[in-house]
Amino acid sequence: MYFSDAHQELRLHIRRFLEREVVPHLEEWEQTTFPDSIIKRFGELGFLGLRYPIEYGGQGGDYFSAVVLSEEMARAHCGGLGMAVAVHTEMATPPVLRFGTEEQKRRFLVPAIRGDEIAAIAMTEPDAGSDLAGMRTTARREAGHYILNGRKIFITNGARCGWCLVVARSDPAAGHQGFSLFLVPRDTPGFHVTRTLKKLGMHSSDTAELLFEDCRVPADFRLGPEGEGWKELMWELQGERLIAACGQIAGAQAVFEYAMQYAKDRIAFGQPIASFQVIKHRLVDMANRIAAVRALVYETCARWDAGEYPVREISQCKLLSAQVAVEVADDAIQILGGHGYMSEFPVERAWRDARLARIGAGTDEIMKEIIAKTYGL
């Protein structure tokens, strides 16, 4: 209903590419993080520009072509690499396409789609996560430039990016109307990566803490009008949450299928454990929750693709998919028992990777606040 046969053909090519060029290295990349060259390879094959216009090197596809990529990355248990690609294609670059000038698109979007420059986006700060409006990074205007000062944290691709989309206060007195977005090339003096952070899961991606210290950014690199940053950021977050939901549900599906196959093969007390009602019903519960949320996710993707702005449903997708992904991974570990707790079985990593989903791109609690607001609560 949502996927044409062109999407399905694309899916098979992406699947074969991942099987041949990504999956064999995933375990190694969990230790070392992935090499930048794999992002370049994604770019060569057109996978970083699936839904971007052909004039900027994109493939001219619709939103569901991006969904296909997200689903296939999740299906192959790509974890951290999947997140890095999603940050690049569905978080950092969409605002450039939507709000950027022609020059900005040529300078930032085109090399990102080619895979020559990896993109990052920096909003969270040590003292501003869920309370995003508490961001303190400032952008002071001075002779054709903005001078950025402040710290950003938990920045995926931060250490390896070619450019970073940074949210800063251009007018500290103006509240929500005081934020602006800036495209900051990595080699700008004053753009420091202070450290990369160790974390529970998503080990193949890098997560950085950034410091902007009198970082001079040309005024031409401000994205959109001054003071419009908050609105632009809220739009960006919708796409970020929706693609996160797509990945979480596809990941949950892969974990479910793995656990089901295990339960069919694993003999205990003289029979496959899948034949025990307690396991069988647990598997059915997993499948049901995935199916229900996936239906909402696809419907919401179709509305987003059609140009609607369904904030409530996107927040619901994000909240429910994260919860289902975590629950399904936990159930899978329980079905696999001791094997499930071991790193040599993929559900252990899936469990660690999935836990981020209830925090990143807006916590469960923030999603509920947003949904409540749409009901006037």
Binding site: A6, E9, G60
Partner: protein
């Protein structure tokens, strides 16, 4: 340079293979572009990229074979000719080669690229027969292909290594399945393939007479299942001699 690549839709090698009641291969299940042909298409596209020209696909099969053709067009081939006719159902290799030759001949290509054998029938006879009907030199088992001016040169794979074989073009090259990894189609390629020409021709268009098959499959039986081998107990005395005798009888040593 005009390059014709022959392509075929075959039952998915990952699905169980079945026969129809008349002992011909069942083609109503999952079907794919023959994986060997995908390598042929890749070689055709690389030669086009190096020397310019066009890559024309020629296929024979039912209407449904358009799906496989479209996969090859997604990779970058320019257009296709599908030979399709009820009279060709269950065609043997002779008829297949003559039908393909008629369609290829009217294209007057500089080079014809085939896979060494199809994944389903695996006769390996169509490329040589095709070359014969077309009157072209044939270079088979190629795992490397180069074009220099009006000459095509291949590495012909042998048990010990390879032979370098050259022929003047036009010529036919049959490539091995391992010759090149088929490229991943881009979304743009997939979308563009939907607007590329797939011309269908029938027996009458080609001025072809279809003789009765020279060969038909009368019966098919499962291969005998493997018998259990002899277990030699190591009694510390004659075990080694017994195993040596068995290996010598099997002409392994």
């Amino acid at each position: 340079m005009k390059i014709v690549v022959t392509v075929k839709q075959v039952p998915d090698p990952n699905s169980p293979q079945r026969l129809d009641a008349d002992n011909t291969i069942a083609r109503d299940g999952d079907v794919v572009l023959d994986p060997g042909d995908a390598c042929g298409v890749e070689i055709g596209l690389r030669l086009k990229e190096a020397h310019g020209g066009e890559v024309v696909l020629v296929s024979m099969g039912p209407e449904r074979a358009r799906e496989a053709i479209r996969k090859a067009l997604s990779m970058g081939a320019d257009r296709a000719v599908l030979v399709t006719d009820p009279a060709l159902e269950g065609a043997d290799v002779n008829t297949t080669a003559r039908a393909l030759a008629a369609a290829i001949g009217s294209e007057s290509p500089d080079l014809v690229v085939c896979a060494t054998e199809s994944y389903d029938g695996s006769t390996g006879m169509v490329p040589p027969m095709l070359a014969e009907v077309l009157g072209l030199p044939q270079l088979t088992f190629a795992n490397h292909v180069e074009v220099n001016g009006s000459t095509v040169s291949v590495h012909r794979q042998t048990e010990d290594g390879y032979q370098v074989v050259e022929a003047p073009m036009p010529a036919l090259v049959a490539v091995t399945a391992g010759i090149a990894e088929p490229r991943y189609a881009s979304l743009r390629g997939i979308m563009a393939a939907r607007n590329k020409e797939v011309r269908t021709v029938g027996v009458a268009d080609l001025g072809l007479e279809v003789p009765a098959p020279a060969e038909t499959v009368e019966g098919v039986e499962d291969a005998p299942s493997r018998q259990q081998g002899e277990i030699v107990e190591d009694d510390g005395a004659s075990g080694v001699e017994r195993i040596m005798a068995l290996l010598q009888a099997a002409k392994v040593i």
